[in-house]
Structures are given as structure tokens and as C-alpha cells.
Symmetry: C2
Subunit: 414 residues, 2 copies
């Protein structure tokens, strides 16, 4: 029982968040994605539901109109809210101006290092993707400092682009396919060949911009949790890349494990005496369903080629995908047996391959999960597709601003 | 932000809990088990640390001495606390009386149905086991109502014994090796052959005594969490019986899954095309490391026989245990890769077999867990041994009384 008095400052912080949340709720309620590639910034007026007015917000929050107006003024001045003219309505009285999340205020920079590409994106407060860049290239030959220098280049491009659009980057989040400590040290990224790489030190070139580093599957799972239609509260997000990672969302919260190393689905054994894995063990899921294993089995020279062949009913490609789906299903069924999650979300390259992977994954779950007959498990492609990690990264920055608007207002004043 | 006033009644409830907790903390601080078989009720005075006095409790809780005294009086009258005479100390002033959890107040009744035995135990408020009964017999031939009638008989014996010791049963908890709904419906217990059995209805004979029903591995994991030395906050409790269950404790809380069906480790695939399992799938862990699989491979006619043979270095028994340990290790390594738990606790028959299982389990974790080299995983036998589930069940009743003493006091007054 704490009996600390509610200070005026924290009350104001709380109420700023409350007011901003009303505008954010409208973004979701109107069917828009909070963070998603198909979110179209030009369509505010086209939506059936109108954005909330000051009066709507007062009614929804039980704050006085005077308090709401003062807070809204501060949020507008700080670039977090924008007032939009109401659409004229026949026969009604003069409609009030609507409040929407600003399209020219703070924005989040998402960055991603993966084995065969680097990417960046800028997402504004309303969840609209305002900039996107991907550089395809095998990152394994490069030293970590070279890779980080290229990431810094992507970040600089993104910042230039953001400033041209009158956006201010509030921070950056970097997704890495490996085990990351809370301070941003990459302990191990087996498929990149990285060990104990101090990422924030290598990204000092982003001068001044706060950077957080996280596992790519964790960021992708967070992106998925906050994107699109309100999904299940507990799901396994599987990130299929050259490595396979997983983000575990339990009761609406990302589960990171006792020491932050959860989600290493790629190294769960499918056949304990199977082929040797880069990690030192045998028969890991990655050896059956990792990108390189699938491409090799399908004799395809890339995922585009694989998709084309599968679409053309090429039997070698179909067999390779069925085998990968079966292995993925065995591992996913184990997770469902253990954690009783409601859904398995296929992300990374698995998202476009879902039409071919899903039947086998579903069949294995149906056969192997004790409760499957009365507690069905939804197997579905990621809403954000291959961009989930970099979108989730940018979204995590945006959510921090939205959850703590007072911090942002103080920062811009300072 | 709720601004509900703290009512006097709830404040009293809160403070009663606070005071009782001081006596409970002493039980733990003095090296006693909260719920454990080796907790010796006769040794209070022998402990080096003395139990807390009213003054100690006032100091620890910041409540006034007058408030503490009134609450202590209520807790003594309600049979929750007992005043003990202080040990005479040379040279000191007259020492104050100590307060200990009552050994003649409310108690918890633990019940367990397993495939080859039924058991019951009574645990008092201080965690001392006051009664214990096990009936070994294969439960598979019996109908659920026959099994439940026998459980009711065990419960009646336990109640008679408890009353003779001036204990009042506060409630009962029943451990079942299957999937249980919050209302006590056993949806499926594959090794018992039960499906949709309404346990509370079948136990109506326990007239008046509130009964909760839970999965045996969950109750065992809770027992383990609260027993003995303060262990890791995140662990996998593996219950080896004819079936294999698991209780997953994450950050000090039992994780039940989205719909309550977590922990089905026995049906995680070790070899996807392995032998057929009772559940309908193939290659489940139970087929390699379940009690019947081990005994068959060891040509042993029971766990006592198996233990004797293993102790005598019988090579068939040792090979059988190494094979089981390897399968268990493959499955456990998968869990650690996914959930990053700090420990794997071997329970049920695995507890006495731990000397032979542990090397293989540890080796598989060492080889297969990506983070094992810098985040070691402790593999250890259950502190409570084969009794963990029934002890955990009784302990869950006791903890409810300890956490909500006001409810108990109201109940005894009524």
C-alpha cells in the first residue's frame, strides 16, 4: 500500500497520455493499422467514423472541457496532435474540428540487420510508413563494424528523408537476428557469425539519437501484436529467415525469458540425430525449415524463384515446402503443447510462403496437440509480412512517445 | 487511476495479512520449509533465530504496537497464530513471547489421483505434514466414479486424523494427471482414459469442504516454488509418472497458458516418426521417458526394482535410464531454448532417478541450448520428491488461508 500523493506533474503526465490515447484509439477503431504498410495517410476524411473532437475526448475521459482543451493545445504545440477540419454534413449544426495524431511531429526510426539484407523505415505517430529502404546483400562477409557503418548510412538517409517531410526522429530501434542484452550487446548472432558486438558503440555515428537494440523476432512479434485487427492475446510469432527466431506473446505481453534469451525456436530439435547445425547441435529446426534449407531442397536460387515455382506447381518446390512445413509444424506443436498459445503467426519468408506451409503446420498441430480438437489453433501469415521486424522496431519508438507524451513535450522544449 | 477510498474493512484485512506474514516469513527465514516433508514441528525452540514478538512485528510493519496487539489477538483467537514461551537467555532482560503459525488451526487437505496410486496429505499452517496416506493400485481399470469414491474415502480418513489433532480442514485441492478446467472438469486425462469427468460432482461426499481441482504438474510446480531454499524464479518442473507433465513457472508465477492447457511436455515430439503414443501422435516424449517405457527398456517390474538395479550398476537399467535421460534432455533443451528458464526440476519418479538421468539431461542442454555456455541451467531433483503434487495441493489451500486470513476469521465466526 503506497500512499504517495498524486503530484500535479504526474497527474498532468497521466492526463496528456489519456487525451493522446483517444486520438490513437480512433486510429485503431476506424480500422486503420497502428503500424502497417497499407495505412494510407491520405484517407482520413474518407473514413466513416470521424476523429474525436475536444468534446468527445472530454466525454470519454471524464476530464473537464477546459482541462482537455489546455492539454490538447499543448499536444498540438508539441507536434503530437493536429486539428483537422470536419467534413461538411448536410442538415447538422456546425461540426467540431477533429483531432488526429500528427503526421508531421515525432516519428520512429526502425532499423534491421538480417543475414541477407539491411533495412530502415520511418513510421509517424499515426502509424503511417513514411520512408522505407532495403539493401539486399549477404552481410556475412562483412565485419560487424562495416555492417554497422552501413546501417548508420541507412539511418542518415532516413533522417534526411524524415526532415524533408517535417518529421523529427524521436529515437531508433534496431532489430538483430541474435541474442541481445538490455544494453545492446549482441552476445551471439550465429547466422551472422557475430559474438559480443557492442552495437550502440558501433552506431555512435547516429549522434544524439537514442538507439535500442533487440532481437528481430521479438520486435516483429511486438509489431504484430500492435498491428492490424485485434489478434489473439497469446501467440507464437515465427520469423523465417536464414535463421529462425520466435517471439512469444503471452497474455498480450512479450515474454523475454528469465535472462532475455527466449524464443530460440530455430534450435529446437526436430530430429535429435539430424544434420549438424551451425550452433553445434544436430537436427535443429533451422536445418529443415531455414531459408537456405528450403531453397536447397527446392533447387531455387532465391525466395522469389521459390515463390514462382511453387505458384507454378513445380513438384520439387512443393515437396521442399511440404517437408519444411512438417518440420515447422512439429516444432510449433511442441510450443502449443507447452504454452497453449492461441495462434501461430508465420513471419519473414514464411508469410508469402504461408499458402504452402500452412497445411502441413496445421496438420501437425492437429495431430500432436493434445487439446487441438476443442481448442483450435489459428495458423496464419504475419499481417506485416517480411517487414514485421523493422516495422515493429519503428513502432516501438512511436509507442514510447505515445505512451509518455510528457517526456516528448519536455524534450522538444529543452 | 482509481480513487476508491481505502475502506476500514479492507485495511483491517490487509493488516491481518501483513501481521500473519511476519510469522510466515520467520518460518522461511529460520530455514524451515513452508510445505515440505522434512519440516519438523517439534523443533521450534531449537532454532537459532527466535520467532518474532509483537514488538518485532510492529517494527517490521510500521504499524503501532496497539494495532499489532489487537490483530495478533484476533489471529490467536481464530487459531492462526500461537504464542510460544521464549527460551530463557542468560544476562538479558525478560524476553518477549514469540508468535508462531498455529499447529492446531486451519490445515489444507491435498489429494492426488495418479495412474498407479491415490494419495492424501494434511499440511498445517506452518507447513508441517501432519498426515500422509498413499494407496498403490492401478487406477485404469476403475470407472471415474469408483476412483472418486476411493478418493473421498482417503479424504474422510484425512479429516478424521486432522480432527484428532485439533486441526480444521480449510479446504481441499485435488491433483489430476490431465487437462482440467477452472470449474474442475477433467477434459482429458489420456493415461487414466478419462474424458469430461466432472470431479466436484463425483466428490460431493466431501460434504461442505471446498474442493479445487488442478493438473498435477501445476500443483507440484507450485509446491516446488514455495518449498525449501528460495529457488530460481523461472523453472520447468517435469513430472515423471506413467504420463509426463510439466509445470512452467515464469518470473515466480505459474504459467497456465491462454486457455489453461499449458505444460503438455509428454506430448512434445522427440522423433516425429517414432512409436505411436496413446494420444494419437507419434514419437512423443512419453514413449521414450515415461515410466512404462523406462521400466520396459530396463526389464524392471517397478521403480523400486529399477532403482535397485541402477544402484547395482545393472547395464540394462543404466542403458534404459541413459536413453530416457537423452530424450528428456532433448525436450528440456527445446523448452530452455524457447523460454530461457533457469532450472529444470526433475519430479515424480525422476526425482529418485535423478543421479542417472541428470548427466544426459545436462549434456543435451549443454549441446543444444544456444545460451548454455554463458547462462547455465541447473538440472536438479525436486525438493519434495514424489510427493510434490499432493504437497503442492495441500500447500495451495494453506497459502490461501495465509494470504487471506480475514476470510478464515469470518468463516470461523460464522
Amino acid at each position: 500500500m503506497t500512499d504517495a500523493p498524486v503530484r500535479q506533474a504526474s497527474l498532468r503526465e497521466h492526463n496528456l497520455g489519456l487525451v493522446l490515447r483517444q486520438a490513437a484509439i480512433w486510429v485503431t477503431a476506424s480500422g486503420r493499422r497502428v503500424v502497417g504498410p497499407r495505412h494510407d495517410d491520405q484517407s482520413f476524411e474518407a473514413d466513416a467514423a470521424r476523429p474525436p473532437s475536444r468534446a468527445d475526448i472530454a466525454a470519454a475521459t471524464s476530464l473537464t472541457r477546459a482541462t482537455v482543451s489546455a492539454l490538447v493545445d499543448d499536444l498540438i504545440a508539441g507536434g503530437l496532435l493536429t486539428e483537422v477540419e470536419p467534413a461538411p454534413r448536410a442538415g447538422a449544426g456546425r461540426p467540431a474540428a477533429g483531432l488526429v495524431l500528427s503526421a508531421s511531429g515525432p516519428a520512429g526510426l526502425g532499423l534491421e540487420i538480417n543475414v541477407d539484407y539491411l533495412s530502415a523505415c520511418v513510421v509517424d505517430l499515426a502509424g503511417t510508413v513514411r520512408h522505407r529502404e532495403v539493401r539486399h546483400a549477404d552481410q556475412r562477409p562483412g565485419r560487424p563494424d562495416q555492417v554497422l557503418a552501413e546501417v548508420a548510412g541507412l539511418a542518415a538517409d532516413a533522417r534526411t528523408h524524415a526532415e524533408r517531410e517535417r518529421l523529427t526522429l524521436a529515437g531508433a530501434a534496431l532489430a538483430v537476428p541474435g541474442l541481445v542484452t538490455p544494453t545492446g550487446l549482441v552476445r551471439l548472432a550465429p547466422n551472422l557469425g557475430w559474438r559480443d558486438v557492442d552495437v550502440p558503440a558501433g552506431l555512435a555515428a547516429l549522434d544524439g539519437l537514442p538507439v535500442t537494440v533487440d532481437n528481430e523476432a521479438n520486435l516483429a512479434a511486438l509489431g504484430e501484436l500492435h498491428a492490424g485487427p485485434v489478434g489473439p492475446a497469446s501467440f507464437l510469432y515465427v520469423s523465417g529467415e536464414i535463421g529462425i527466431g520466435a517471439g512469444i506473446v503471452l497474455h498480450g505481453t512479450l515474454f523475454r525469458g528469465a535472462r532475455g534469451w527466449s524464443g530460440e525456436l530455430g534450435h529446437v530439435a526436430v530430429r535429435p540425430d539430424g544434420p549438424a547445425c551451425r550452433c553445434g547441435a544436430r537436427g535443429c529446426l533451422e536445418q529443415y525449415a531455414g531459408q537456405e534449407a528450403i531453397l536447397r531442397a527446392a533447387s531455387a536460387d532465391g525466395t522469389t524463384d521459390l515463390l514462382a515455382r511453387a505458384s507454378a506447381h513445380d513438384s520439387v518446390a512443393l515437396t521442399a515446402l511440404a517437408t519444411a512445413g512438417e518440420a515447422l509444424g512439429v516444432a510449433a506443436a511442441g510450443v502449443v503443447n507447452l504454452l497453449d498459445v492461441e495462434a501461430v503467426v508465420l513471419g519473414g519468408i514464411y508469410a508469402p510462403l504461408a499458402p504452402w506451409l500452412r497445411p502441413a503446420v496445421t496438420a501437425e498441430i492437429q495431430q500432436r496437440v493434445l487439446t487441438a480438437s476443442w481448442s483450435p489453433v489459428d495458423v496464419r501469415p504475419s499481417v506485416l509480412g517480411a517487414d514485421a521486424a523493422v516495422m515493429g522496431a519503428a513502432g516501438s519508438v512511436v509507442r514510447t512517445v505515445r505512451d509518455h507524451p510528457a517526456r516528448w513535450l519536455t524534450r522538444t522544449v529543452a
